[in-house]
Every structure is written in structure tokens, then in C-alpha cells.
Symmetry: C2
Subunit: 252 residues, 2 copies
């Protein structure tokens, strides 16, 4: 029997975001691989093996899962959110490209999920309601000058922006620098959303103006959305304001 | 009893993409509103009213659903893909902003879904595996010069790109013009993916180089992904090539 690797998006947190397609892939798999907290979200099942690994070991984890599948098993790599957005799908394909020929013969099925920025957007209104971009602020794999240049061009283009990987212990200053760069390009009144652990019990949302946005307001579980100059708030008595970018959003 | 409006993302097609949260919202609703083909995806239920409308009537549809909910009912506006990405969430909030004060008192719950670009990306590899943007090519609500400017800045920033609303009967030339603009900014070898009706029985995928990309290859049901200069193909014997953007993707 030939093996198969699923790369499965769990969505942002609780089971109410897990698609039936993702559930079926987890059910079909004889073994699960993944970063510890993502694996912990999948209920244990008798006879299904589990291989948890640390956050910074994507390529090694991908290789282990591919080797396992190449032995003839159905294996699932679990990923938070959507596996194709700053998650495991690219790492798996990088590993296939660099790995033994037999990995290219494996069936690979990538199962999409709700990515963090869509969950944060839905909880606050429609801040990504017009043209937008998604940027990883991590400079583990690219120089931060590239991030700065992208931020400036994105602001000039009039995109709303979602930031993934905004901070970590090893990257304490990058988010503050990103806000500084954007304050040079955009009015200070542009809304910024900090969405922490959205879709989970400890969810926390905060909306404030770019002028007041600071790096310490985020942690590793935070996805940040920065509006465009067109993004605005609709105030509601007794309810949180809705943040949205109109469908007609034009140039700055 | 006070009313409530759900804005529900159905995902890209079949029920296997519908999250349990979206299913629960459709179950709770006493009335459904939506564009004809999206409503047709939701099984009929005794006692649940249905109000189907044409594609170009987003604001009128939003107003009708808000009025209905303001009468004290639980109403769901259904949307293909994710309601926050070039879909109904922004139209609903625009209507709230412009509408009577009582609409601001309504509970509004936006339920995210798998948006088209994530489904297309998953079917082909990980073309959105690094920084990317999403652009509507429609010039119904913004001049096409804005689109052209965004395309150039996005290419200069090194973003992969997803195009929504690439063509329609009223917009026959815009997609060809978009490819022309990108050929001035990017190498002709950059991969372009046409994903039509992804997640449905009549799904069709096509991957070719930017040099060869033409407007007639898309229709209204197509989502297009244009890679960055870093995006590449991993060839596989007897299987479709995997298209992916490495996690380390730097500047052009």
C-alpha cells in the first residue's frame, strides 16, 4: 500500500471551526505529527500514534512525517489555522523538494482551515473587507529590512494588513519598529486590532489608533490587523464598535 | 425579543468545508438571505424563510436582512467563502452605518469560512506560503488605475497575489490588463494558478507561466493566484507539480 500525507488546518481554536473535511482526514490518519499545542487540540484515539514536536523544528517534523508516510502509512501533519498561511504546508513541500525521490511519489493532501486573520476580522467587523495583505514579522528566515520595505509598499498601496508572528522572546523589538514605520506612512488615526487567542476561551480583542499601538500589547498568540486609510469604526450604543474597510476603498 | 443577524461563510463549495459554527448559525436562523447560488447550497428546512437575490444587489440585500432582524427575528445572511473577504460582511456594516439607529442596536455575528484563495492554494501546494496580498480586480467600486497601482506595488513588495472578481460580462478586459502590468514588473516565468469552482464537482485547476496567462482562461467562478519571484514548482512523476512559495522568500 502506498502512503499518504495529509496537512490539516485545525482553524483558530475550538472544534466549532474544524471543517468536516479536516475531521475526516484526522479520522483517516494512522499517525499524527505536529507542534505540541496543536496536537493537544485533537482528541486521542486508540491505535492512532502521536508525535509532538517543538515550534522551531518545522523541517525536521516535516521530514519525519514524510518518512513515516513513505513507509506506507496514512499520516496527518496538524497545523493551527490554515496550513498554507505561515504554517506547515510550505515546510512540507520544502522538505519534499530537498528529500529523497520516494517522497515525490507520495500522495499529499492539504486540507484548508480558517486562518487567524479571518477569525480576528470576523470578531471585529470587516477590516479586511477590501484589498489587503498578510505579512509575517518574523526575521528568522528573512532580514527585517525586507519586512520594513514591504510594510511601506503595502501602506502606499492602500492595503489593510494582517501581521502573523508579531513577536517572540527572540524578537522583542520588531513589532514596535513595524508600527514606527507605518506611522511614517499612514495617519495615526488608522485603526489597529490586536486579536489574541481568537476562537478560544481566553480570547482578547483590543482596537486602538495606530498612534497608540505598541509592541507590548501583543504576544505569540496574537494576530494583528492594521487598517488602511479607508478603514473606519461604526459606533454602537452598548455594543463594541464595528471596524470595517468599505468595498469602495480607493487610493490613499 | 431582540433580533440578531448572522453573516455566515459557507466556504468554497461542498458541505465538507462548512464549519460546525456556520452550520449552527444556519440552524438557528428563522430566515435566510443571500445570492441565489449560495442560498441553493443550504438544504431547505420547514419553517425557515428564504429570500434569494441577484448578485449586484448587496446593499439592498443587507438592508432587507437588517430590517427583518430588527423586527425581532434571527436572520442569517449567507455568503460564499468567507464573508469578510470581498463578500457580504462589509456590505452589511456599510448598511448599518447608513441605516436607521435601531440597526446599530442589533446583535451581529460574523461567522468566518474558508475563502477561495485558501482552497485554491491548498489544492496546488502552498503558493501563499509566505507574504501575500488579496486584490479585487473589479472596478465597479474603484477606478482601475487604483488596481494597476496596487498590482505594481504588490509586485515590487515581493507579495504573492490572489485575485478575486477577475472578470465578468461587464468587465471583459481588466484581467488581461492586470497580467500585462505584472509582466512589466515580474519575470515571465512566475507561476500563475487558475482555480475554477474549487471544492465543487466541476473543479478545474490550471498552472502556467505569467508569460502565457490570458484573461479568457478565467470566468466569474475563478480565483487566480500569481506567485512571487520566489514561487516555484516541485515536479513529481505521475502527479501534478506542487506550487509553493518558500518560507524564507526575500525581496525581488
Amino acid at each position: 500500500m502506498s502512503g499518504k500525507l495529509y496537512v490539516v488546518g485545525l482553524g483558530p481554536g475550538e472544534a466549532r471551526f474544524l471543517t468536516p473535511e479536516a475531521g475526516a482526514a484526522l479520522e483517516a490518519a494512522e499517525a499524527l505529527y505536529g507542534y505540541v499545542p496543536y496536537l493537544a487540540r485533537v482528541p486521542e484515539r486508540a491505535g492512532q500514534q502521536r508525535f509532538a514536536s517543538d515550534n522551531r523544528e518545522e523541517l525536521a517534523r516535516a521530514g519525519a512525517a514524510l518518512s513515516h508516510a513513505a513507509g506506507g502509512s496514512r499520516v496527518a501533519m496538524v497545523s493551527g489555522g490554515d496550513p498554507g498561511v505561515f504554517a506547515m504546508a510550505a515546510a512540507v513541500i520544502e522538505a519534499i523538494e530537498a528529500g529523497p525521490a520516494e517522497w515525490r511519489a507520495l500522495e499529499v493532501e492539504i486540507v484548508p482551515g480558517i486562518t487567524a486573520m479571518l477569525a480576528v476580522a470576523a470578531r471585529t467587523g470587516a477590516p479586511l473587507g477590501h484589498d489587503f495583505c498578510a505579512i509575517s514579522l518574523s526575521d528568522n528566515l528573512k532580514p527585517f529590512e525586507v519586512v520594513e520595505r514591504r510594510l511601506r509598499l503595502a501602506a502606499q498601496a492602500g492595503f489593510a494588513m494582517a501581521f502573523y508572528n508579531p513577536v517572540s522572546k527572540a524578537r522583542p523589538w520588531q513589532l514596535d519598529r513595524a508600527f514606527e514605520v507605518l506611522r511614517e506612512e499612514l495617519p495615526g488615526s488608522v485603526p489597529v486590532i490586536f486579536g489574541r487567542a481568537v476562537g478560544r476561551a481566553d480570547e482578547r480583542l483590543r482596537v486602538l489608533a495606530l498612534t497608540h499601538a505598541r509592541g507590548h500589547m501583543a504576544d505569540m498568540a496574537t494576530c494583528i490587523i492594521v487598517g488602511s486609510v479607508e478603514t473606519r469604526l461604526v459606533e454602537r450604543p452598548g455594543l463594541p464598535s464595528l471596524v470595517y474597510t468599505p468595498r469602495s476603498a480607493g487610493p490613499r
